[in-house]
């Protein structure tokens, strides 16, 4: 199968799915009672009829729903995701401003989780049932069971308050206004706690997955073949067992990337990380419908792209899989 034509077809499909996301989320969100005008009025603590009317007219909320939908869809088709109620800025600008922060944090977490998880999993799989294996398994279960937001708070308590070695909040030191290398170092320092908090949960998953897959692959016939060829155990483990055991991880890593894009609400919230997650939380509490819709659309597109990349990566790692 031709990879290019596959990608083209997948992109078309992404488009279709995105349209579905637009329609469904539009109705989901519009079906909820209350609108931007009442939000503003409630927050301002002072309102009269003219105030509400003005706001409704400004946001086009006084028009019938189908008209609103049509206007919205045609705007989206032109790459315009509308204007945030709360911030009165183009939704796309707001999201694109925050997206790099989230991707930075996610990327860091993903890499740490993968590296740590595979190492731990491979270590545990070397001797199933040993003390080391049990240790890794219990540790993984522990990180599985900890609420992420709480883990974050505890990390702050330990590393920022007790040990005082890492900064607890934000993406850079407030008021320092570093530039250049100093800024990169500063951001990196700020990324450690939220990044590790995010990574630990996934690291646990990767460790378990790697361990299970390696134990399963170790029973495969081709591993027996490899041994029958007289190659060393280390090479058997690396070239034959691990190489095959890692394939299912690709799917999972792709899934994680997708989840992370929109799913870091809690960790971003705890660490005041200025990313898409905090933005989503604010949008929900402020009933900022255009912003919410925008977040759904942007993440949907990103997730579709991640899925595509995952599939391609999978087909490269496993030649048996054909893209279709």
């Amino acid at each position: 199968m031709n990879r290019l034509s596959y990608i083209a077809r997948r992109l078309v499909r992404t488009l279709v799915v995105t349209v579905a996301v637009v329609l469904l989320s539009f109705f989901l969100i519009r079906l909820a009672p209350g609108d931007a005008a009442t939000v503003m009025a409630g927050q301002a603590g002072f309102a009269d009829e003219a105030f509400i009317q003005n706001l409704r007219a400004e946001y086009g909320l006084d028009q019938p729903l189908p008209v609103q939908l049509w206007k919205y869809v045609s705007a989206v088709a032109h790459g315009d995701l509308g204007t945030s109620y709360e911030r009165r800025q183009p939704v796309l600008d707001i999201i694109l401003e925050r997206l790099p922060n989230t991707l930075l944090l996610d990327g860091f977490a993903l890499v740490v989780a993968l590296a740590g998880g595979i190492t731990l999993g491979a270590f545990a799989a070397r001797r199933p049932g040993s003390a080391g294996d049990a240790g890794v398994t219990v540790l993984a279960m522990l990180f599985y069971a900890v609420p992420q937001f709480w883990l974050g708070m505890m990390a702050v308590l330990v590393f920022s308050v007790w040990l005082a070695v890492l900064p607890p909040f934000g993406i850079e030191t407030m008021g320092a206004d570093y530039t250049g290398l100093a800024r990169i170092g500063d951001v990196a320092q700020h990324m450690i706690l939220p990044g590790m908090t995010l990574a630990l949960y996934y690291m646990a998953s990767y460790a378990r997955l790697t361990r299970a897959a390696m134990i399963e692959v170790a029973d495969a016939d081709f591993v027996k073949t490899a041994r029958a060829k007289g190659i060393g155990e280390r090479q058997v483990a690396r070239r034959h067992i691990l190489r095959n055991a890692l394939i299912p991880l690709i799917t999972y890593a792709g899934l994680q990337a997708s989840i992370l894009v929109g799913g870091t609400v809690l960790v971003e919230n705890v660490f005041s990380w200025p990313g898409v997650g905090t933005l989503a939380y604010q949008a929900v509490t402020a009933r900022d419908n255009p912003l919410l819709l925008g977040i759904f659309i942007v993440t949907a597109i990103l997730v579709s792209l991640f899925n595509l990349i995952t599939d391609i990566a999978y087909s490269i790692a496993d030649p048996r899989v054909q893209l279709q």
């Binding site: 927050q43 911030r87 909040f169 905090t278």
Partner: protein, 520 residues
């Protein structure tokens, strides 16, 4: 003890970076706009007060002080006010500030956009520029709170040459405001800070005394406390800091804590009842409810001793407060139970007299929510079963505005004069379906309507006081609203900041006069 630990060196302040004269102020969230009249929230006020100035300021005795208006005269009948403007004032873009701007701001922009200003300027028959430096306001009827209505957040002066004829809501200067104030807008780094910088051409000599003000975003309460403690932020405004940690901050020698600066707001935390519905419509029920809750406890335990119990509709630290006429409601559950029995609200199965819902204001689980949780518990002791309902601002605004609630919690500011901030919650003319933050309780009392009208239009201050005394008598007897406590919001600032508060309007007067030690 965790809390007692010293904070790490990397957390310590970078405020004086490069020895510059920089003030870091706290901002719990980013504002939706920097167009002052468009969104008159406290957050916008704190920032924009440095940019867009009012005609007059207020001194500690609630007397007007000159600002953009160097003087004013009023006719004895209270029907005309003439303002003489400071000469030589220029907008930040260099255009001179004139009477045209005043007329535009008051007659058009503010009147159209800001409900609180509308309340004041709707009393005006005409607003005219007599010459480039003189403006005359003519009123239909006397309105003795008129001068106070021109203070601070009610009447910031907006540039006519920028806004006149444009669509206010989409004007690009909403994100880069132009004013006459001591600070100019410099930069908005989204998700990080808003920077204001010194207006070198400020009309008042010697001001401002600070080079830059950074308003820095600190979205979570934990972060705000840390930022203040470490000196990353020099000043935190009302509500920025959770009352849970005030004791800790008060104990910090580097931080000054004050309740001054919010007197002109005169805020009261309240609970509103939908008085269209029984039993809230029954005065005896409302009285019993007041007896059932221990408002001292709310102040002491929930608010950690900050503020004081509210005795009536008018806060105790502002003019017209009259302690002699108030009906008081001490904590007395036995009496509350007796009163409920007497009105026929007897205990039914399970010891419950009545069930109703309580709509929570979305304060992020803060003091108001905690107070409501306490009230729920206290009410259950007298047989009232409250179901709390969380909300976001959309739900809160919609349901209160549409009178779709039993009880809610809220707070209101008096803004220097009951005619500005208080009457709107009690007069029947302000019962407006669909509009939140009005008389949503549906409280109706013809006598109260008349007294508020008379109080506002009386020319004789003695008559005004009489009216307000009678109003306080009636309203407290009626329990027109459940008043919990006077908020006395706290202002926290680093010891190195001076003259941060210069009048009862506090931060809403701007930071023009503030200065920092340790900087040349």
């Amino acid at each position: 003890m965790v809390g007692g630990m010293a904070l790490a060196p990397f957390l310590s302040g970078h405020a004086a970076a490069g020895g510059r004269n920089v003030l870091n102020a706290m901002m719990p969230a980013e504002p939706a706009t920097l167009c002052y009249p468009l969104l008159n929230t406290r957050l916008v006020q704190e920032i924009c007060a440095n940019i867009n100035e009012p005609l007059l300021l207020l001194d500690w005795d609630f007397k007007p002080r000159p600002n953009l208006a160097k003087s004013f005269t009023a006719t004895p009948d209270g029907l005309a006010y003439t303002f003489h403007l400071q000469p030589g004032v220029r907008w930040h873009d260099g255009v001179p500030f004139t009477a045209r701007d005043v007329v535009f701001s008051c007659d058009k922009m503010l009147r159209q956009l800001n409900p609180r200003s509308r309340n004041a300027f709707n009393h005006c028959q005409s607003i005219r520029a007599l010459d480039p430096l003189t403006v005359e306001f003519r009123l239909h009827t006397p309105f003795n709170a008129f001068i106070l209505s021109l203070m601070a957040s009610n009447a910031p002066m907006m540039p006519a040459h920028i806004y006149d004829g444009s669509d206010y809501r989409t004007n690009p200067h909403n994100f880069a405001p132009i004013g006459t104030g001591p600070f100019k807008f410099a930069r908005w780094e989204r998700g990080q800070y808003i920077r204001l910088t010194r207006n070198r051409d400020y009309w008042r000599a010697g001001w401002p005394r600070i080079d830059d003000i950074y308003f820095r975003v600190c979205p979570t309460p934990e972060q705000r406390m840390v930022a203040l403690e470490t000196g990353a932020v020099d000043i935190a405004f009302a509500d920025d800091i959770d009352s849970v940690v005030t004791k800790r901050l008060r104990a910090n020698p580097d931080i000054v804590t004050t309740t001054r600066g919010y007197e002109a707001v005169g805020e009261i935390a309240v609970m509103e009842m939908n008085q269209r519905r029984w039993p809230f419509s029954d005065r005896r029920f409302r009285q019993a409810f007041m007896h059932a809750i221990d408002r001292d406890f709310i102040v002491k335990a929930i608010n950690f001793g900050e503020g004081k119990v509210a005795t009536g509709p008018i806060p105790s630290n502002v003019p017209y407060y009259d302690p002699k006429v108030l009906t008081r409601y001490p904590f007395d559950p036995a009496r509350a139970r007796a009163m409920l029995d007497a009105m026929g609200l007897k205990k039914k199965r399970g010891g419950v007299r009545h069930r109703f819902t309580f709509l929570l204001i979305p304060d992020g689980g803060g003091v108001q929510t905690r107070a409501a949780q306490y009230v729920r518990q206290a009410a259950s002791e007298v047989g009232l079963d409250i179901e709390l309902q969380s909300s976001d601002w959309a739900t809160f605004g919609r349901r209160t505005g549409n009178w779709d609630f039993d009880m809610d919690n809220n707070s209101y500011g008096e803004y220097g004069d009951p005619a500005i901030g208080t009457s709107r919650f009690y007069v029947s003319s302000n019962i407006l379906k669909g509009v939140p933050q009005t008389n949503i309780q549906g409280y109706r009392n013809a006598q109260v309507d008349t007294l508020f009208a008379r109080a506002a239009s009386a020319v004789d201050p003695g008559e005004t006081q009489d009216c307000y005394s009678r109003l306080q008598q009636i309203l407290t007897r009626d329990v027109a609203m459940v008043w919990l406590y006077e908020r006395d919001p706290l202002l926290f600032y680093n010891r190195r900041v001076h003259d941060a508060v210069t009048g009862p309007n506090g931060p809403t007067d701007g930071m023009g006069r503030a200065w920092l030690t340790g900087v040349a």
